[in-house]
């Protein structure tokens, strides 16, 4: 045997062990279920694309964050850094075939060569959903509903009350106000400044708007005053009546709130917040951020918005759209902190120790019966001492052990041990599945 290679992973990357991966899979399955329930279809795109596709002609500073290389055919290729650019390329190629509107979800890993830091990795999963090809506010309303149903399905409710808040805004409002102030062309700088509001506070943002973005002090104050308006729609409507763009923004927000309410979304779950900006100048209409009531400081766990033109790099066809993205890693970190994640390392709930080696086929049969009843069941592969086998079961986090030796086989009954409480009961063979399902349902 030659020298051993030290097993290790690249910095900024990580293995997912079973407990972490089970939580991730559950979250992704919930997202898929909710997205599908609204008619969003799954797609996938290649991990590797031509660098030109990902970066646009010429590339730019984000270039440095790409895993970019020349492949064996000397093509300039890179690993995708988000799912939006691939969606743009995909839509430009397939919109004709798919027809519009087109609703898709895409749950897949992306890569960025950023400096690794706590909680930030070079490989992470995005969970996006988007509706392409319609300007209708119905899609904006639906996006809000998806976010609400998604957070609820993940478990952020208590006694039927949402334990999260969705903050909505509409870019048209700020853009209208900047237009009115005669500084429409400075919107990118203004957005960047506003984005820092929660971190640096009003005075610093004011200073940035004046010094860096060259607003007058009066203009900057007007913008900041608008953002801190308690968002009463009637009041806003009056305030902005003179500006068509801003008024449209207010009208769309009004319809968003009323339709969501009619659809059964509790009013307490949705707040208008004119200060949310979402730095990207790419957004042009409704924008969304979602905060957890118990952990607001971790930031938004589901964000998105409306954009006018998805695929301008690739096609002359104007493709407006709207969508949002679930922050999988951030949400998992929060759930971990809130004790919402179990620590079992097996997806099976019933453990069958091998008590009597000669009965292997019978244990296998028993396990298949339980699986057919929907009870995930593992048979220990070796006829070790029972204590050793139960130690393994404890460590993995099974709920119940179904134990049978010659006696039990002869009598046609099973000893069932609750691995958490240690309590035991004998169950007749004929009612085994039924009784196990009862115990499992009760213990949930």
């Amino acid at each position: 045997m030659s020298e051993l290679i030290t097993p290790r992973v690249l910095g900024g990357f990580r293995d997912y062990l079973p407990d972490a991966m089970m939580a991730r899979e559950r979250l992704m399955e919930t997202a898929r279920r909710v997205y599908r329930s609204y008619g969003f279809s799954p797609i996938d795109t290649p991990v590797l694309e031509y660098s030109e596709i990902l970066l646009g002609k010429g590339g730019d500073e984000s270039d440095k964050q790409l895993f970019r290389f020349r492949d064996n055919g000397d093509r300039d290729v890179a690993m995708r850094f988000d799912l939006t650019v691939p969606l743009a390329r995909f839509s430009a190629m397939h919109a004709g075939e798919l027809g519009l509107p087109f609703k898709r979800y895409h749950i897949a890993p992306v890569w960025r060569g950023e400096k690794p830091q706590k909680g930030r990795y070079r490989e992470f999963v995005q969970c996006d959903f988007d509706t392409i090809g319609t300007l209708s506010n119905a899609a904006d309303i639906e996006t809000l509903m998806v976010i609400y149903d998604l957070l609820s399905a993940i478990g952020f409710t208590q006694n039927g009350q949402p334990q999260f808040g969705i903050r909505v805004n509409n870019r048209l409002i700020l853009n209208g106000v900047l237009e009115q102030l005669g500084v429409a062309e400075k919107s990118v700088g203004v957005l960047r400044a506003i984005d820092k509001l929660p971190k640096v506070g009003r005075e610093a943002v004011l200073a940035e708007m004046v010094e860096k973005v060259s607003l007058t002090n009066e203009q900057a104050v007007q913008v900041l005053d608008l953002l801190s308006t308690e968002a009463d729609l009637d009041q806003l409507e009056k305030l902005l009546a003179a500006n068509a763009k801003a008024s449209e923004g207010v009208a769309r927000l009004r319809e968003l709130l009323s339709a969501a309410k009619e659809a059964g979304i509790p009013a307490s779950a949705v707040t208008i917040d004119l200060s949310i900006a979402r730095g990207l100048d790419y957004y042009t209409g409704t924008i969304y951020e979602t905060f957890l009531t118990a952990l607001p400081t971790i930031g938004s766990v589901c964000s998105g918005g409306r954009y006018d033109n998805l695929a301008g790099l690739f096609t002359k066809e104007q493709l407006p759209g709207i969508g949002a993205s679930l922050g999988l890693d951030r949400l998992l970190a929060a759930m971990e902190e809130l004790g919402m994640i179990g620590h079992a390392t097996t997806p099976a709930v019933v453990f069958v120790p091998q008590f009597d080696e000669s009965k292997l086929g019978a244990y296998m049969h028993l396990a298949r019966r339980l699986r057919a009843a929907g009870i995930a069941t593992e048979v220990y592969p070796e006829a070790k001492k029972l204590g050793k086998q139960l130690q393994y079961a404890d460590r993995k986090g099974f709920r119940l052990a179904v134990i049978a030796g010659s006696d039990e086989f002869a009598k046609g009954e099973w000893q069932v041990k609750d691995l958490q409480s240690g309590s035991k009961e004998m169950i007749a063979d004929a009612v085994l599945e039924t009784r196990l399902l009862e115990i499992l349902a009760a213990g949930k």
Copy 2:
């Protein structure tokens, strides 16, 4: 606007459109469900690894098939080309923490820079499951059961009869025979030759064994005669009684068959076939191949086997294991050919056209009600002409449309149209969910 970039994908890569991706997701979900029901846990590993990890020290010819490059930190890295090497590295690093036996599944994409050809891509998904850390035949039996349950769950049964056959063999038999013939060290060459049997026939394999592997003609004939033995276990046992290794192979196969039968796997689903070899010399015990009754020529759709030492490159600890892999792409191609894949491009079954724009909130409410009843429902985002909306619904493949205008809202009833048959019925609001579920269940 600058010049457009032509949207395209790299050769050997592909986009998955909704119909294809829905079929893939269904298959992956079935695999996850079956793997979990046996207590296999999910893991994930980084797509990028140090090249040294993937290739071993020095690398070798498979080098050329890797997407390998220097990252921004000048590390020699590559994209994984399978899930087995990452499992070996993972097991060497985490076996202590996880405890043995360790059962994992891993469903994830891998990359190989092979020359693209029909049905072969540079990016494809593997669906592996393995049990690490036990020599017990119980794991071999369970592997067979997983393959059986997996193919059944995917839909390869008819009137309860399996429409597939699992062929099993044990490497110990051939190895024992080669040992007996005094040519144990030639096993790799012999395996490679045998692997070609179905393609090139007996004479060509005989010639290769003599000319390339330097067996005598008599030895080669003996090997080939063994492989074509109708596999009666009693007969085999007698034939190989003198050889301990081969006898152990026969005994393990015997126990495999009898336990599987006792567990409820139909005998018709499992055949002993001494001619299956699975070229990799990595396998050391039981091996499996699975063929579809209706399409045997596409080759094995689920294959695997037992190996003695998974992680010898990375650790001195001997980690035996056994596992198999579902051939996702091959299976999907077969299912497509057999008409087992629907052509809907939406996961939703009910379509709600927007008939009366002023009722948007009511449509949204209706759709949420149906979703709460488990019925995936899409509301069309624009109040276009009904004909246009239904055209969209037909194209996407929804099953039913639930249509309501002012009349229906006033009366509290809904017009439900079957989009396949064109038939219509009126359903009272109070029983809408129940009746829709009935219609959907009947139409399955």
